[in-house]
Symmetry: C2
Subunit: 147 residues, 2 copies
DNA sequence: ATAAATCCTACCAAATTAATAGAATTTAAT
DNA sequence: ATTAAATTCTATTAATTTGGTAGGATTTAT
């Protein structure tokens, strides 16, 4: 399961992707449209700014905008920022590696093979889900509604 | 990431699988061999008994034993018992379905498609990891050590 | 000036996690 | 019968994480 924070971040980024290179979107607007608590969203966007996924413009008429192309940000990236490792254990994580304290010798760990296999497949599927792909869904759905 | 409880359960079950149909293993023995806090393991095994993965024999010489064939228990099953849904959201879970409160209309949710795709792939890889497969690792590794 | 926006830090309640504690119960062996 | 070994059951607890809320400081456009 992903945290609410992560889901909120995903929705906010998809919304920003919808207006990619079309100016600023305020926290208030995104919060309202995506049903996210506004003050919580502020914190989330701040974190996304720190990792250079978005940038902001202060003051009246300001807001946030996406810095990268929607194809360049995937769910795997977002998950890692807010929920940490994709792997099932620290010792099988690529981006957050840490040895396990209950494991005396990693080379002899009989769990590793499968845990790495699961990580690889989960990782791959998460990397396939770019902001662009969510955006494509969104327009396909609204197109379908009009018919 | 999986919880420690889940990892402990997995290790305990693999250990029990190693002695499948060979009598009882005590909590104390498993705890020692697998570096699991004994009293914590007791609770875990109790839960595994409730879901009929293991059974127990009280008293001196007693202990736990695996009820199912090691091929019939997969990591997906264990994960669900201790860590809950494999899916990233309740609304995309097969075994723990719940509607999302921040989602007015599921049919129009533009996140679903990818979240279901990720769930399916994660699920599939987790179902591929049976107790037997971990056991096969274990013997392959110890065989390799002897050479 | 003022209104609108981000920025920053602190706080908080509830839930979850990872245990620990202790006693009750059952069973096998002496 | 007694005792030792084992599971069973229930409660407690400390630390961390989650999902927010609060309030003010700062910046900028009008």
């Amino acid at each position: 399961m992903m945290s609410k924070k992560c889901k909120y971040a995903l929705k906010a980024l998809v919304r920003l992707a919808a207006d990619y290179q079309k100016g600023y979107l305020s926290t208030g607007l995104i919060a309202q449209e995506e049903a996210i608590p506004k003050k919580f969203l502020e914190q989330i966007l701040l974190e996304l700014k720190q990792v250079k996924f978005v940038n902001s413009q202060k003051g009246a008429g300001g807001g946030y905008y996406l810095l990268k192309h929607p194809k360049e940000i995937t769910f795997a990236d977002i998950y890692r920022i807010f929920d940490g490792p994709i792997a099932l254990t620290p010792c099988t994580s690529l981006n957050f590696y840490e040895p396990c304290n209950d494991c005396p010798n990693e080379a002899v760990c009989y769990l590793r093979k499968q845990l790495i296999d699961i990580r690889d497949k989960t990782r791959k599927s998460m990397m396939g889900a770019s902001l662009q792909s969510f955006l494509d869904n969104k327009s396909a759905i609204s197109k379908n509604l009009k018919k």
